[in-house]
Symmetry: C2
Subunit: 262 residues, 2 copies
């Protein structure tokens, strides 16, 4: 529980990649400075070569460069930093449409594409590629933030991005040169995440989390923000499921896109 808020967590070796991973922070303010083309190309290459489920390669990345499209995404997300023109905006899309079109060409049936199994394979491809993209950006000295807030209105996003059947927009990513130096937010101690052989629940979970709650509370207390926040357990009790992104008709939109029907 001795992690500092102002220096990155330490790794157990001198491995520079892990050091970079531990230094992750969400960046929500960007300089007005363009990302070199070769750097952007690197990020796409990192995403493209990520592991893919059953070699189906079921994801796409949409780079948003049109201010009107960006504004529409900002309206969906409700997050001020998504608006304007600072940082580059990318939408990561679970994409079963490409393979559906190939199957149509060969007159193969499409029913498997509506199974949850196939959607989760595509989701795995998309999320894994997004993390490689984000870490590649961080390795180039760029800041990043994932935008789960695009889930606030997935139907509108489908419309704006002209997403065809068998696709679903899973995540936004904003990338650019950081114009802020946020603190490092302490994560749940490893003992709460790590299990051996079988899942081990705790008899006294909330009591056991007391020390972490206190540590996280000091982080929030020091943060320059006007938002009222609580420790971890109180925040889970009061806020989980309350956000607009958590209350949107996601399953209905997945169904509308032909996904997760069975």
């Amino acid at each position: 529980m001795s992690e500092s808020f102002t220096t990155p967590p330490k790794n157990f070796t001198d491995n520079p990649v892990v050091k970079l991973q531990l230094a992750h922070r969400s960046i929500r303010a960007y300089q007005d400075r363009a990302i070199p083309e070769a750097v952007l190309a690197d990020l796409f290459e990192a995403a493209r070569h990520t592991a893919t489920s059953a070699f189906l390669q079921q994801f796409s990345i949409i780079h948003i460069t049109d201010p009107q499209v960006r504004d529409a995404i900002y309206q969906v997300s409700g997050q001020p930093y998504v608006g304007g023109d600072k940082g580059e905006l990318f939408i990561f899309v679970a994409d079963l449409n490409r393979n559906a079109r190939i199957r149509e060409h060969f007159q193969a049936d499409l029913s498997a594409l509506s199974r949850t199994n196939l959607f989760l394979e595509a989701a795995a491809d998309t999320y894994l590629a997004a993390q490689n993209f984000v870490l590649a950006a961080e390795s180039h000295g760029l800041g990043t933030v994932y935008l789960g807030s695009i889930q606030t209105d997935p139907a509108r996003l489908v419309e704006v991005l002209e997403l065809p059947r068998y696709t679903y927009p899973l995540l936004g990513v904003l990338v650019g040169y950081a114009d802020q130096e946020p603190q490092y937010k302490p994560r749940l101690p490893l003992e709460f995440l790590k299990h051996q052989n079988t899942y081990q629940g705790r008899q006294q979970l909330v009591a056991d989390l007391g020390e972490y709650d206190q540590h996280l509370q000091s982080y929030y207390d020091l943060r320059d923000t006007s938002k009222p926040v609580g420790a971890f357990t109180k925040r889970i009790a009061s806020m989980l499921g309350q956000g607009a992104a958590e209350q949107s008709p996601m399953l209905a939109v997945l169904h509308q896109q032909g996904l997760c029907l069975e």
Copy 2:
């Protein structure tokens, strides 16, 4: 289309992290050699500090060290390399149970946890952390392979791992010192994955994929395997959805776990 199968794809800069990302290959044969504790600790730290949706931290990692549990997972996956004792086996679990237990403690209702929105937030946490874990392993000179094959019998996996309500095992990962030197499998050219502002379908998708099909066919032809394989488009037409992992009752098991009900 000039990518070699024997050297990793080249990046556009001399960035060492991206170079590592582009050198990814699945490793399915491991030496009988233990991973140092400090290295394993690094992998867990990398996973723990990955970005997390709405700071809900909804994932767990189960390290499989009991030969009987490993054998049961091997039976589920049907992949010979999952059996035996080479490489370390980890199961990445979408874990909403921890937060459910916290909410129970505070008498908060649990209905949000059954929404697809919350499950996909947990899935994002789990997959992003898995990719950081895998890249951390690769940065330590280890080989890795994702095991989507654990989806062949998720109900059995829930039983073996004693997974409580509100958890679901998304991915297996095998990590160890490589005992093989596989070739680099060529990925879809970027133009098929990358879009600008809106999703752009192709009029002649299968024709456009002809060159890639040929390139991938030469990769398969050179591979030392007895399996009959086809080019990309033919493989999508004939094999997509046919695997045991793609035909399992995943949605029923998610529902049984209290997830994705609405």
